[in-house]
């Protein structure tokens, strides 16, 4: 009979308490580690079809599944022989809690096409995730740019609209466009202020306009 069994029989209370203490300490350390390891990071779930494709994040090899990343811009690249490489650039910011990165590779060779047909369920699942992510991006965009709910705003004298700011890779920034006659432009911006937005915080561009000081 082993020493542990002898001890357990001789000191049942001591064994139970030691076990409980061990479990409590282990749980505490695990929770503490979790808080530190994932603090300031966003949960990113990468799914790729076909599932055995090689995945790179900013050039570093990784696996499909869940990973935790700090806010920033990341390029996900998936590749497999016979398939066209799949690439997706994602900008993660503090406000996001989790994000899905579904990548579906387009088959090019005959073998790859046959394999893709067999994996149609995985492709379908990825499309669903992509749709869900696009919807979440749309909600995030409207939350970040609440002014778009007022736009476009047209009167007989002027128009206030918006366009995507292509200099922001996240696609979440906008440029407010103002079309108005000379002498009226500041009044149009005042309309934006009357809606409750601070014009000094907005990227405003005037249409059909040239700054004489430039």
């Amino acid at each position: 009979m082993s020493k542990l069994t002898n001890y357990t029989r001789a000191h049942p209370v001591g064994f139970t308490m030691s076990l409980i203490a061990f479990v409590v300490v282990a749980l505490f350390i695990y929770s503490f580690y979790g808080v530190i390891a994932y603090s300031g990071k966003v949960k990113v779930t990468v799914t790729v079809a076909p599932s055995d494709a090689t995945i790179y994040v900013n050039g570093d090899s990784t696996n499909a599944g869940t990973t935790y990343l700090r806010p920033g811009a990341y390029t996900f690249l998936a590749s497999k022989s016979g398939y066209k490489d799949g690439k997706k650039t994602v900008v993660i910011d503090d406000s996001q809690k989790e994000i899905d990165v579904p990548i579906s590779l387009t088959p090019e060779s005959d073998d790859a096409k046959k394999e893709a047909d067999k994996n149609s369920a995985a492709y379908l699942k990825n499309e669903g995730l992509a749709g869900k992510q696009a919807e979440a991006d749309g909600v995030a965009f409207r939350d970040r740019n609440t002014i778009v709910s007022k736009l476009p705003y047209k009167t007989l004298l002027y128009t206030i609209g918006y366009q995507s700011d292509t200099s922001d890779p996240s696609g979440m920034s906008i440029i407010i466009t103002v079309e108005a006659n000379e002498g009226m432009r500041a009044d149009v911006v005042a309309q934006i202020a009357r809606w409750g937005y601070d014009p000094t915080e907005l990227n405003i561009q005037f249409r059909n306009y040239r700054n004489p000081f430039q």
């Binding site: 002498g183 000094t200 405003i204």
Partner: protein, 207 residues
Amino acid sequence: MRLRYVFIAILVFILLASGVYYAWYQATYHTVSFTLKTTPMTAKITKDGKEVAKIDHNTSLTLANGSYLLYPTATNIDTSAIGFTVDGKDTSVTIDPPIDSTTLSTSLDTEIDDIQAAIVTKYPQLISQFYVDKGQLLRQGDWYVSTLTYKSSTNDNPKDRYKIIMQKTNGQWAVIDTPQITPTKYNFPQVPTDVIKNAYELLPERL
């Protein structure tokens, strides 16, 4: 024997409680370094209306997470409260209260000629088409905002007004970025946001 187990249990509890307290303290309290740009100056720090500390020299304090208001007191400064937030990490706060508006207005009288000359130097041809308002000095008297109005603007033929922002560096006034109809943080990337807001809100003297 049972006493030994109780002792072990208490020890484990104390260790866990110490760990939890340490983690809580680390997450809640942070070092805030204060730098006073104006001397002599005293500053009262409050949280939720209650005084937390009073400082009169560069120092560091350990403060809990939260929003604080700092009330500076010194000669010829704007004594409006300055807000700062402690939010999960050590931080530093530079207390550089603006000069009060009366003193700034007096300073502008002595600076205005140099300011106007710097504008003319920057836009020698174009500026003759504009009236340059007297404008305002801001902060420590090192920032200036004003309105430029076309001389040819009339009620029947209105023209856009422009906001100009200037900074005094090493005793020299210089136009910062390009005058704009609406100053924003995008078209004045080199200018502090409070100066941009002042420029935006500045009413033209010629209405």
